[in-house]
Symmetry: D2
Subunit: 115 residues, 4 copies
């Protein structure tokens, strides 16, 4: 299995071969990220909980590919903006740990600012 | 720096401490992914290319945190659906390599089905 | 109650007073539309069907305002691109009528291309 | 040209003929609204300002149809939640008028909470 670093290299190589950096301004990259996220959502539109339980079993590969498309843009944007995304996520979880104290947040789906 | 596997463990530990798995059905997880992607986009709304160039320098941390929020959901959904997301991305890039042949796609932002 | 035409006039007057047309390129307008749609979605995140039933009663005004924000951008974009949106919707429903024939689509949430 | 009220009636008639109300819970309706908004955005992805200027002329009908799809969901959700969307928008513009005072907001794309 490739590491995140190796995947980023592969992504950049793919882009450079097509000379696509010229199109990759942050606004369009973010917008692409959002469009791919919508394609993940689309898999679950109109389906009941029961239908989804079945669907995720029989369509794991398709859903996986849409998630990969989102990850693709996260890694590319992070690369271009020189963000260490794994480190940032690590710290963000620590932040959330404080934003959502266990004793207040347990068993609740309330947003931190309303806890 | 933590590996993706370690981050996934940390995310699941964070969730379990709050007993939040009960809320994490695929539809709401996908929807959360999409909402966080929108927050990335929001950073670039209304800004000109020139303003964005400046903005990404002075707001790297904020943008990084939003990207981390998106990554958080990707890792969590992939975990719950038992998807190896790094492997899937690796193979997706290979697929895109064929969908966008260099000689046809070079210097063009056209979608593969219109190339 | 104002008509759609009167609302469009009011929106343009609001914009002109602030000299905001300079920011209103189609890409940012579309992106704004999408961001406001996300704010509608956010109201329903994590909530169960039962919770939502209660929520839509007690939060009708808030949800209505988010919907109005989406409508705002639809009317503004349509105005700027010189699109008669009511007429277009009228014709689109006729198109959908053919795309989703009653005998095939009844009681199904399947997309037209899979019916 | 049909009025908004007539369009709503047409939409409900279209739905009832297919017996689709059973699928129309607020979460999926909001999600559909958001997915259609993404399809509007998709038209402008990767395109430069110059390309967009040309594109909106030659693709007015396609863009109009996507906007109509968004409007469709706005009218349907508003109907189901018993929201007078035209009235709500009218009042929302008045609210925005106060949130963005002309003397502070003129020529700026700053969000109201940072003005």
């Amino acid at each position: 299995m490739k590491s995140v670093e190796e995947l980023v290299k592969k992504i950049i190589k793919f882009r450079d071969a097509r000379n696509w950096k010229q199109f990759h301004n942050p606004k369009d990259l973010a917008l692409s990220l959002s469009l791919e996220a919508s394609e993940v959502v689309e898999h679950f539109q109109w389906k009941s909980e029961k239908e989804i339980k079945e669907y995720v079993k029989t369509n794991k590969d398709e859903i996986g590919e849409e998630l990969a498309d989102v990850l693709y843009w996260i890694l590319l944007i992070s690369h271009d903006l020189n963000i260490n995304i794994l480190d940032t996520l690590d710290k963000k979880i620590d932040k959330n740990d404080k934003k959502y104290p266990v004793d207040k947040a347990k068993n609740k789906h309330t947003k931190y600012n309303k806890l």
